[in-house]
Symmetry: C2
Subunit: 321 residues, 2 copies
DNA sequence: ACTAAATGTGTAATCGGTTACAGAATGAGG
DNA sequence: CCTCATTCTGTAACCGATTACACATTTAGT
């Protein structure tokens, strides 16, 4: 690797002048500037960020903490983060923390050892105080004074319930996502508030996990532990799918006998038969905006809002009447 | 942050002694060792990796280059990588390169600026010569002399065709994945070799893209441009899904009238109705083994095989007779 | 033409580690 | 008891950048 020293030598100036030229800081004469630029070009020089980082005690790296990258919601979010980061010269460090405090702590340490300049977290955020650097929560807006970008899940729940009402659902089952999942409660309360306003009869069915292998059992349980229903507001698309499967298995038609609405809008939701009507979460946007907010924080640009809520969107397909 | 200097002061020794103690290098007296260990403990010291990295010209960071993290195959792979890395004290830097040479070049530069110690790539790998560090290709085994971990797609294709034969398929359509996709050709040739051996009649249907939005159109096209068939070997689960949808739409029954086998085994494949029989790729394993190989390369451990092929597996569900 | 301000440049300190080297202390062997 | 190898420890150089500071040169103002 070419160092600044070699550039200085080649250009016939001191390293200080090279550094000043490259960073547009301090005064640099016309002649020197030209000589340096030429040297940089012919030598193909680019600065070692590690050395820079050592002195500046910061870097162009940001950490991204996720509960589980294999959960289909997060890859899109990660893509949004990576896109913004890349466009602005930052590198993304991926951390899978699985809501495990120990792993999160490991990363807190990692990050400080590497002079990471900021952290984006879609994980618990309990450790947020520990970070000495700018910190933005993704889809986990807590009451505390954190910066955050999240989906407006209350609205999402309302949208889902409204869609069911518009589709003339009469007896509806609302699946309540596991309590520990971000936004699950907001979704539920949004849906219930609309149903209550309309005076519609409904049952709440509790699910205890997001694990895919449990989805099928849960769907069976749903049918067995509830009174007859004609509409289901699922806690997410995976559950919606499982419920659809069980519905068809039991010989009911979708949407004629039972209609179903999901939440997330995953890749496969549109490819199902029938196509799953669902609430689309702006996952990519959450990531992208989150990265933007973080970088603004790092670079001390002004920030419009400390807590941003992005709007989910109803995706009309064929699982509603 | 506590520095080594403060530890040295507190312990009443020199920084050299502290460093030697921490790295178990050179001679350290019993007394000193104890004093240092105590100082480290009470001060809560841990070394700054940036400083270490500057001198050592390497780091505990590895780069992971993916064509598209939002493609459902890669998150699992990424998880495998992250798991192994984390367990061995490495950080993973995520790069989404989208088969775009310019982006890949950007990352090559990024990586060298940060003294990255190794690179895992599921992207084209055309730039692999450019890396000055250990390099392992994931699922893109080229002819060249690279280290690589890949799925045995030839075998995967054979498995799929055999399953169709066992299920008494008579007229089969084989979808040929887009040529630029890793392994697509192997899959095809594996499937065809088995079909040929059995003397079964088949048609090959070319698909030109992996884009999800095109999957539905492609499925329609499949039905319209081929002679009657009773079995489909899809190029992946997304296509399999689209074909299932179109099949049902057209009033055929699965698997009675038309049977379908996919490739990948995605989250949703088991939740479909009917459950999609498919070839499971060991995505997590590819990532995990790849990371292991890379770390072995970095730490100059011995490596058993330069090119590893992992076996795919048939997942029997309900879309075959 | 003379002084003060503005501009240009190099030397050296600094960031926080690792390690070569030299010198001191200890132990072993004769 | 002396010598030499072994063990221990500290000083200082180094990694590759940034920047404070001092000094030199140019420019501007009167």
């Amino acid at each position: 690797m070419v160092t600044i020293k070699e550039v200085a030598e080649y250009a016939g100036v001191s390293v200080a002048t090279v550094s000043r030229t490259l960073n547009n800081s301090g005064y640099v004469g016309k002649q020197s500037r030209i000589k340096v630029e030429e040297a940089v070009k012919t030598l193909g020089y680019y600065p070692n960020e590690i050395a820079r980082s050592l002195y500046q005690k910061t870097s162009k790296m940001i950490g991204l903490l996720l509960p589980d990258i294999s959960n289909p919601y997060f890859p899109l979010l990660a893509k949004g983060v990576e896109d913004y980061a890349q466009r602005n010269g930052y590198m993304v460090i991926l951390g899978n923390v699985e809501d495990d405090e120990e792993k999160e702590e490991m990363y807190v340490k990692f990050f400080s050892q590497y002079n990471i300049s900021g952290v984006l977290s879609a994980a618990s955020g309990k450790k947020s105080q520990t970070y000495q650097v700018p910190f933005v929560l993704l889809d986990r807006a807590l009451e505390e004074e954190n910066y955050s970008i999240a989906t407006d899940d209350q609205l999402g729940g309302e949208l889902a319930a409204k869609a069911i009402i518009d589709a003339k659902g009469k007896q509806v089952v609302v699946m309540a996502g596991p309590g520990n999942v971000a936004g699950a409660n907001d979704r539920l309360s949004g849906a219930l508030s609309v149903l209550n306003d309309e005076g519609l009869s409904y049952q709440v069915f509790e699910t205890h996990t997001y694990q895919v292998d449990k989805a099928e059992e849960t769907a069976v349980e749903l049918f067995e532990s509830t009174r007859p229903f004609d509409s289901v507001i699922a806690s997410n698309d995976v559950y919606a799918l499982a419920v659809m499967k069980e519905t068809i298995k039991r010989g009911h038609r979708i949407p004629e006998d039972i209609q179903i609405i999901g939440y997330d809008d995953m890749l496969f939701s549109r490819l199902m038969y029938p196509g799953l009507t669902t609430i689309a979460q702006p996952a990519y946007e959450v990531g992208y905006q989150g990265a933007k907010m973080l970088v603004d924080l790092i670079e001390k640009n002004s920030i419009e809002q400390k807590k941003v809520k992005l709007k989910p969107k109803l995706m009309m397909r064929d699982s509603l009447r």
